[in-house]
Amino acid sequence: MSADLTMQKHRSLLLTLVWAAPVAVALLAAPHVVGPFHTLTLMYGLVFGIAVLGFNLLLGYTGLLSFGHSAYFGAGAYTVAFMVKYFKVASMELFLAGSVLISVIISLLFGVVCVRYTKIFFGILTLALSQVLWSLAFKFFWVTGGTDGLRVPTPSLLGTAPLADKMEFLAFQYYYYVLAVFTVCVIVMWVIVHSPFGKALQAIRDNETRAEFIGIRIRRYRLIAFVVSGAFAGVAGALWAPLNGLATPDVLVWTFSGEIVFMAVLGGFNSFIGPIVGAMAFTYLKTYAVGFTVYWQLLLGTVLVVLVLALPKGIMGMVELLVAKVRRPR
């Protein structure tokens, strides 16, 4: 590689460290600095961040807009609930393994059908299939608990029994566990999008015909991306279930898929960290809107419409624009 490109890469790595290091310190210190309320809100943001990171492998890197990611998130959450109820499992590691397995199976089954199509057809198919899972959770109440959902108690972490005080467990033990899983997910996704496979996905996104004519089997790559994306949503669902304490059909319904899409758009799906920023911003906006008024959907909707109109490329798009302006020689 030429010296110019190597230098460019080193500079980009240095810049990443400049902002990533303080963020890492803030995330590590959060439970000791802010109260349990903010720690829990932050944790929801991290969990949704994992789901949206997975979702963005399809939207940002492969050019496929899924409106059905609630299915894989919900599959992860319900897998945990079923493991608790029917198999008396209490280990978080087993929950994660089970959730990944089930979300991979479901995303594989759905993906085989969906990746044959693109654009609106792909979006509608993912939406329709996710609604099938929602209706199953809704109607088979003797198995799923229906709208009451299934209770998920605090799990053991790395073989250690949870603290007796649930709030203390969630705001400390569980927070660091979620942060660790989140970090692993971010690293794994970063490697995937910077791997030859990730490059091939971006090639498919940019120009399907050309990608085919350099020997890339489009559907196979899309299917793998779909399954990886589903697995990330499954991990997020598994982490969400003990945090929420309950797995309900709400996480399988299409409006939740819409929220996932919105988080990615809000943060900026053209950037790697955009979806994470979007998940955090959306979680905080929603939390405060709910606390502010009973008409929180109206307030949230208005705020989001204004944000999208003002920041068409998302929060990270605006940040990149500002950075470019600062760097531009006068």
Partner: protein, 242 residues
């Protein structure tokens, strides 16, 4: 020895027979120009051979294997590559990425999820080398969507070339390109063809050396308005060979 043979290859779009029972041969190692006026069927023939279109009838034999029913992916793996009349690139990726992707694909490395692409020095060095050959090394870090049309045409050829194909089709490699930018393209694809095939209305009108084609009255009459000499033949045509 023939590398590619088509037998009675045909393709229609509605009532229009774009390729009409074409028998076409490309020999191993030769540089061939396929010329003809607009709508003669050159691009359709290339599309059929490369697998973009399915033929209505006829067969395509490549290295003594019938590839007529193979997907474009399988044909690429067999060694048939092409560039496009309307440039087809990965616009949001850098020029270097565009070429590197061809090399990753050729080497069967695009399914690797767990290794960083940037670690594969051999691929990036080869990609740099290809860009250098095409005079695009200065544009390596620029996105393909941000370079000039002529450079995009060059890059389109470079992406196909990086696959190291046994048979490379260059579909109108100089169309829409300024005179200044044509030179490096033609330097790459050779200045003169060893053989010229003339197409007209979906069929092959003539096949011979540049001199034979120049002396062919039927070609001159059919291509009225087109001055059939050695060089201008490249101005409107497709090129095949290795």
């Amino acid at each position: 020895m023939s590398l590619l043979t088509t037998r009675a290859l045909a393709k229609s779009f509605g009532e229009n027979r774009a390729v009409n029972s074409v028998d076409f041969v490309v020999k191993q190692g030769e540089v061939l120009s396929l010329i003809g006026s607009n709508g003669a069927g050159k691009t359709t023939l290339v599309n059929l051979i490369s697998g973009l279109y399915r033929p209505d009838s006829g067969s395509i034999v490549f290295e003594e294997r019938d590839v007529s029913r193979q997907s474009s992916y399988e044909r690429i793996k067999s060694g048939i590559a092409r560039s496009f009349q309307l440039v087809n690139l990965f616009d949001q990726l850098s020029c270097l990425d565009n070429v590197a992707l061809s090399i990753f694909s050729r080497e069967g490395k695009t399914l690797k999820l767990a290794t960083l692409a940037s670690r594969d020095r051999a691929v990036w060095e080869e990609a740099q080398g290809v860009l250098r050959q095409f005079g695009l090394d200065g544009k390596a870090a620029i996105t393909a969507g941000a370079i000039s049309h002529g450079e995009r045409k060059l890059l389109d050829v470079a992406v196909a070339y990086a696959l190291r194909p046994k048979l490379l089709f260059l579909d109108e490699p100089t169309s829409g390109v300024s005179t200044r930018e044509k030179a490096p393209i033609m330097d790459i694809v050779f200045r003169y063809s060893e053989r010229i095939v003339v197409m007209h209305q979906g069929s092959i009108l003539a096949d011979g050396t540049p001199d034979e084609i120049r002396r062919n009255d039927e070609v001159t009459t059919t291509l009225i308005g087109t001055h059939v000499t050695g060089e201008p033949a490249f101005e409107n045509g497709n090129h095949a060979g290795r």
